[in-house]
């Protein structure tokens, strides 16, 4: 890989959802693949995610959502990330994401969508291929 620095990923748990097993498993997989991971812990607001992403100058903004509130959260987050000048970063989301919502998530700017049952290797490969 030609990157001088490792890919820096913000991995956030949006909203009130407390299911963090998946996020932590993905965090470990990204670290094992040589990435730097900032994991936020639970209960992040859209404002907090945008602020940390900007402060930490991350390459990738990743969300893990298991409790169904991904669309309203991502709508708010999109506006905040754009305001913060983070439109060029790679936005990805994983979790319990019904197929019927994938088009809307793509439309909001989430390039990678990883519903339950996604493989760790696929997540890692996608981020390596698309992070700028």
């Amino acid at each position: 890989m030609s990157r001088a620095k490792p890919i820096k990923v913000l991995l956030a748990k949006p909203g009130l959802d407390g299911h963090d097993q998946g996020a932590k498993v993905v965090a470990r997989a990204l670290m094992d693949a040589g990435m730097e991971v900032i994991y936020t812990g639970l209960r992040q607001t859209p404002e907090a995610v945008a602020r940390i992403a900007q402060q930490e100058d991350v390459d990738v903004i990743a969300l893990s959502s298991m409790a169904g509130s991904h669309l309203p959260f991502c709508e708010k987050l999109k506006a905040l990330l754009e305001q913060a000048g983070l439109s060029d970063k790679l936005w990805v989301i994983g979790g319990n994401l019904p197929k019927q919502d994938h088009d809307r998530l793509h439309g909001l700017g989430f390039k990678g969508i990883f519903p339950s049952s996604s493989r760790l290797a696929d997540i890692v490969n996608f981020i390596e291929a698309h992070a700028s």
């Binding site: 909203g15 009130l16 407390g18 299911h19 994991y39 409790a67 959260f73 019904p98 019927q100 049952s117």
Partner: protein
């Protein structure tokens, strides 16, 4: 002998780390500790069951986890399940309620009524349980961070309907230590959180002695990555911490231990699971008798809901989850659970439909009605394999508990995020083992199908209007309640928290005055502060 059977036999180790032999004989039981610890059902140490006749006397209660939208919607689903033969209720609350927020809080936006029923005030409980006979149908509340408020609401609602609270049965989950490990609906820091559990135990022991104020959960620790022996060992460490809290305020162990209940998972290897439950029953009885000095045998009963199994179900080929669920129900029945419930086949996708709930209910019913699971107590008892494994599982659990004690105790390890880090490391190893094919999951890493047909799953619709209706009801309650009574009740809650006395009497008064879940939380937060998660993984 093993070599003679099959020199090329692969080494088989169960999830709890115990090596499994191709054949067991009486010698294996003797080597593992013998039959000495097993005893008879209904007698100490209760390995074979807490009652002499078990399901002959009373079959397991069937208690599907249910709740969504508004109290009106949930009341309808409750009635549907009861009409279909369900014998208990297990209530799911939405995340704002679980996190102690009102439905109109900005942090609740988009989450009201989504993963469970929204509750703001006593009025919501009055609607949710309308027309349900609370003596015939016992109710389990899956609530943790906001447990003081919701226990208070349940008691107040029952009292208003004319039930004698001193005879009222029911359960609250109210296991906050496991919320820090998995599930995540904590509110206050670890110490005041455990103090509140102590308050509910003390209050119920005095005011509602048939009510089970705590259901200690290995379940979610297992879902977060723990192996079956750790699941039970960590739960016992947590139960000991609550018992210590109750004893520290002067309660006798026999005043409350009989009302502690437990919640465990059922996915995994059938024999390992059944041995886990039998071993756990013996170990908990031993702890309560030898460590806490209980004199009443029933203080050491491991009364439990064994069910769920969500962590074992798959997103792939969801209809196969119906079959997995049948085996999980079999495990719960063979294990002698007091109560069972099953995650539904569509639950990896959505809130289950009525149809999916009915399949789960029928699964549990047919074991009792057609398959003979209610006929004989502890049907696997005496199996050389299961008895050996029961001894070995107990030894593994004791070892895990000793390690926790040696490292400073469960409260400290949870506050530091150490248990969380340990189970998440295991979850990662398991995910890697599934992806490499080393740990087999049917439909996931073997026997896969390309899903060309539409999946047989119907998504639960989320109605945006639910939140608006809920907030309108909340505003209506706020406008019609007696404001000065609410204000003084809330001040009393804060004062009780400040002077370290039991907050429950004040919380009950506040709830009766129609104070909201969020208002009570806010007054407790002013004293206790909020938990700051040690972010470790």
């Amino acid at each position: 002998m093993n070599d003679r059977l099959d020199p090329a036999a692969r080494r088989v180790v169960n999830e709890s780390g115990i090596e499994i032999q191709p054949l067991y004989t009486q010698e294996d039981v003797e080597r593992s500790g013998g039959f000495g610890f097993i005893g008879e059902p209904g007698a100490y140490p209760f390995v074979r069951g807490i009652h002499p006749l078990m399901y002959r006397h009373r079959p397991y209660t069937m208690r599907q986890y249910t709740g969504f939208g508004n109290p009106e919607d949930t009341n309808k689903r409750f009635k549907y399940l009861i009409a279909n033969g369900q014998t208990g209720l297990n209530v799911a609350f939405d995340l704002p309620t679980q996190c102690g927020l009102d439905s109109d809080d900005t942090l609740a936006q988009g989450e009201v009524g989504r993963v469970g029923m929204a509750v703001d005030t006593l009025r919501d409980f009055e609607i949710a349980f309308a027309d349900i006979d609370l003596e015939r149908i016992t109710v389990s509340l899956t609530i943790n961070g906001a447990a003081p408020q919701l226990i208070a609401m349940y008691l107040a609602m029952a009292e208003k309907r004319g039930y004698d609270v001193r005879k009222l049965r029911g359960t609250a989950q109210n296991d906050i230590l496991k919320e820090f490990i998995g599930r995540g609906t904590w509110i206050y820091p670890v110490d005041p959180s455990v103090k509140l559990v102590g308050d509910t135990i003390e209050y119920c022991a005095q005011q509602a002695p048939k009510y089970s104020p705590v259901s200690v959960c290995g379940y979610h620790i297992r879902e977060s990555g723990a192996d079956p022996a750790q699941e039970m060992a960590y739960a016992f460490c947590i139960a000991k911490a609550y018992a210590d809290e109750a004893i520290a305020r002067g309660l006798d162990v026999d005043e409350f231990a009989g009302r502690l209940s437990f919640n465990f998972n059922v996915f995994g290897n059938i024999f390992e699971q059944v041995a886990k439950f039998r071993a756990g029953r013996g170990l908990w009885a031993k702890i309560v008798k030898e460590h806490f000095g209980a004199r009443k045998p029933e203080s050491g009963w491991l009364r439990m809901i064994a069910g769920g199994g969500g962590g074992g179900l798959t997103f792939e080929q969801p209809e196969v989850n119906i079959v997995r669920g049948a085996y999980y129900a079999l495990i719960a029945a063979l294990a002698g659970a007091q109560t069972t419930a099953l995650c539904c086949y569509d639950e990896a996708y959505t809130i289950p439909t009525e149809y999916a709930q009915r399949i789960s209910l029928r699964t549990m019913q047919l074991l009792l009605e057609e398959m003979g699971l209610a006929d004989t107590v502890d049907p696997l008892g005496g199996s050389w394999y299961v008895e050996t494994l029961t001894n070995q599982m107990r030894q593994r659990m004791e070892q895990v508990m000793a390690e926790v004690d040696a490292e400073g105790g469960i409260k400290k390890l949870v506050a530091e995020g150490e248990i969380q880090a340990r189970v998440s490391a295991q979850a990662y190893r398991m995910q890697r083992a599934i992806e490499s094919g080393e740990f087999r999951k049917v439909g996931v890493n073997c026997y896969r199908v390309e899903q060309t047909e539409e999946l047989q799953v119907q998504m639960h619709p989320y109605n945006e209007d639910d939140a608006r209706r809920q907030i309108a009801g909340l505003n209506d309650t706020r406008a019609t309640r007696e404001a000065s009574r609410v204000g003084s009740a809330l001040r009393a809650v804060r004062e009780a928290a400040r002077d370290g006395s039991n907050v429950m009497p004040a919380v009950v008064e506040a709830v009766k005055a129609y104070a909201t879940v969020g208002e009570i939380t806010q007054h407790l937060v002013e004293v206790y502060g909020r938990y700051r998660e040690p972010v470790r993984f």
